[in-house]
Amino acid sequence: MKTCLIVDDSRVIRKVSRHMLESMGFAVDEAGDGQEGLARCEQAMPDVILLDWNMPVMSGIEFLEALRRHPAGAAPKVVFCTTENDVGHIRAAVAAGADEYVMKPFDQETLQIKLQIVGAA
C-alpha cells in the first residue's frame, strides 16, 4: 500500500484530503506543520507528501528545502496543495523541488490525475 503524509495546519483540510486519499487506496499520516512533517519523514519516508504553504513553525517551502537536503529526501513525490495560486509561488515551489502543484479549491478527480502524473496512483 502506498503511503501519503499530509502536512497542513488546518485540521479540516487534513480530514478532507485524508478522505480522498484513503478512497484512492493510500495509507495516510498527518502532520500539523513543517517541523512535525520532517520528524515523520525521519521515521519513514512516505511515497507522497501533500504539502500546504503557510503553516506555523515551519512553512511548506522550508519543509521542502529541508526534505530535499535529507539523504533519503529525494524519493517522496511532493504535491503542493495550497491557496497560494499565483504563478510566482508555483515557480518557486517547482524550483524548490515540488513535483506537482494543486491550487485550492480542487476536487478528488484533479488530485487523482496529479497523483497519476507523478506516478503515484
Partner: protein, 288 residues
C-alpha cells in the same frame, strides 16, 4: 422542478433535431436544473412556459440557448491520459512516417467543447517538436454549440479547469496568468481552427484528416444517428486515417468503414477497401 410530459417532448424534440442527442429518461430529471439559469435570464416561470415560447415561430435565440443549456460540455485537459499516450507513442509516429512526403498533418477534434482536447493535442505535438519540424499542422476543433466555441476561441480558463489534467510544468510553460484567468499560449491557439459544426452535417473537406477524435460526444445519440455520425467521420478521414473514441465507446456494428485497431480500445482506422469500394460501386442492376 416539475416538468410536464408535453414540455419534455418539446425540449427533447428540439435537442434531437439540432444535435442528434436524445434526452433519455435518466437525463430527464436534470432538465429543470440545467434550464434554471435560462429561465431566470428570460424571466420565465417554468419549463412549461419555456416550452410554449419554443413552439412559437421566431424563437431562434431562445432555442439556441435552450439547446446549449441542455448539452453536457464536461471536458478537461488530457482526459484519459493513457489515450493520449497511445496517440503520442503509436498513432502520431505512424502518421509521421506515412505522411512524411506531404509533411502535412490535419487533426479534427469533434465535439471539442471549450477546447481542452484540441489544446492538449497542440501541446502533445509541441512536446514532440523534433518530429514535426517543417510540417504544416492544423487542428480543426468543432462543436454544435456556439456558446462553447466562443469560450474556446478566447483560450482563457479558470483556475479550477486549467489544473484539471495538466501537469504543473505544462501549466506554467503553456499558460499565462491573467486577471481573467489562465490564457493559453498563442503558439498553441494558432494551430487550432474553431468551428461551429454539427457532426451529422457533411463537411466540405472530405478525406482530409489523418486523425479524428470524437470522444464522449456520441454517447446520447440514438443508433441511427450514431451510425450516421460514424459515416460522416469516415467521409472526413483519409484512407487509413485514425479515429479515437472516448473510454468505453465503440463503433462496433455501426460502421463497416471503420476497423478496430489493436493498439487501444476505442481506436479505429478507416479501411481503404470498404471506403473505396463504396465510392466506386456501380449499381449492378441499373448499369446495363
Amino acid at each position: 422542478m416539475q416538468v410536464s410530459d408535453s414540455a419534455a417532448r418539446v425540449l427533447s424534440g428540439l435537442l434531437e433535431a439540432r444535435t442528434g442527442q436524445q434526452l433519455t429518461a435518466d437525463r430527464m430529471w436534470r432538465i429543470g436544473t440545467a434550464l434554471s439559469g435560462l429561465l431566470r435570464d428570460h424571466g420565465l416561470a417554468s419549463v412549461d412556459e419555456l416550452a410554449l415560447r419554443l413552439i412559437e415561430p421566431d424563437c431562434g435565440n431562445l432555442a439556441n440557448a435552450a439547446v446549449d443549456a441542455l448539452l453536457n460540455n464536461e471536458t478537461y485537459f488530457f482526459r484519459d491520459r493513457n489515450m493520449f499516450d497511445v496517440l503520442a507513442q503509436t498513432v502520431l509516429p505512424e502518421i509521421a512516417s506515412q505522411a512524411r512526403r506531404k509533411r502535412h498533418l490535419r487533426i479534427w477534434s469533434v465535439g471539442c467543447s471549450t477546447g481542452q482536447e484540441a489544446i492538449s493535442l497542440a501541446m502533445l505535438l509541441s512536446e514532440q517538436r523534433g518530429k514535426w519540424a517543417g510540417w504544416s499542422i492544423e487542428i480543426v476543433a468543432s462543436d454544435v454549440s456556439h456558446h462553447v466555441i466562443e469560450t474556446a476561441r478566447k483560450g482563457i480558463y479558470p483556475q479550477f479547469q486549467v489544473q484539471r489534467g495538466l501537469s504543473v510544468l505544462q501549466m506554467i510553460n503553456h499558460f499565462e496568468e491573467r486577471p481573467e484567468g489562465w490564457q493559453a499560449e498563442k503558439a498553441l491557439l494558432r494551430q487550432i481552427r474553431y468551428e461551429v459544426h454539427n457532426v451529422l452535417d457533411p463537411r466540405e473537406d472530405a478525406r482530409a484528416f489523418d486523425l479524428v477524435l470524437c470522444r464522449n460526444v456520441l454517447l446520447y445519440f440514438g443508433q441511427e444517428n450514431r451510425a450516421r455520425a460514424f459515416d460522416r467521420l469516415a467521409d472526413a478521414m483519409n484512407p487509413g486515417g485514425w479515429l479515437m473514441l472516448g473510454g468505453g465507446e465503440s463503433a462496433a456494428g455501426l460502421s463497416d468503414r471503420l476497423v478496430a485497431d489493436d493498439a487501444a480500445t476505442g481506436l479505429y482506422r478507416k479501411s481503404d477497401e470498404a471506403g473505396s469500394a463504396r465510392d466506386n460501386v456501380v449499381p449492378a442492376r441499373r448499369a446495363g
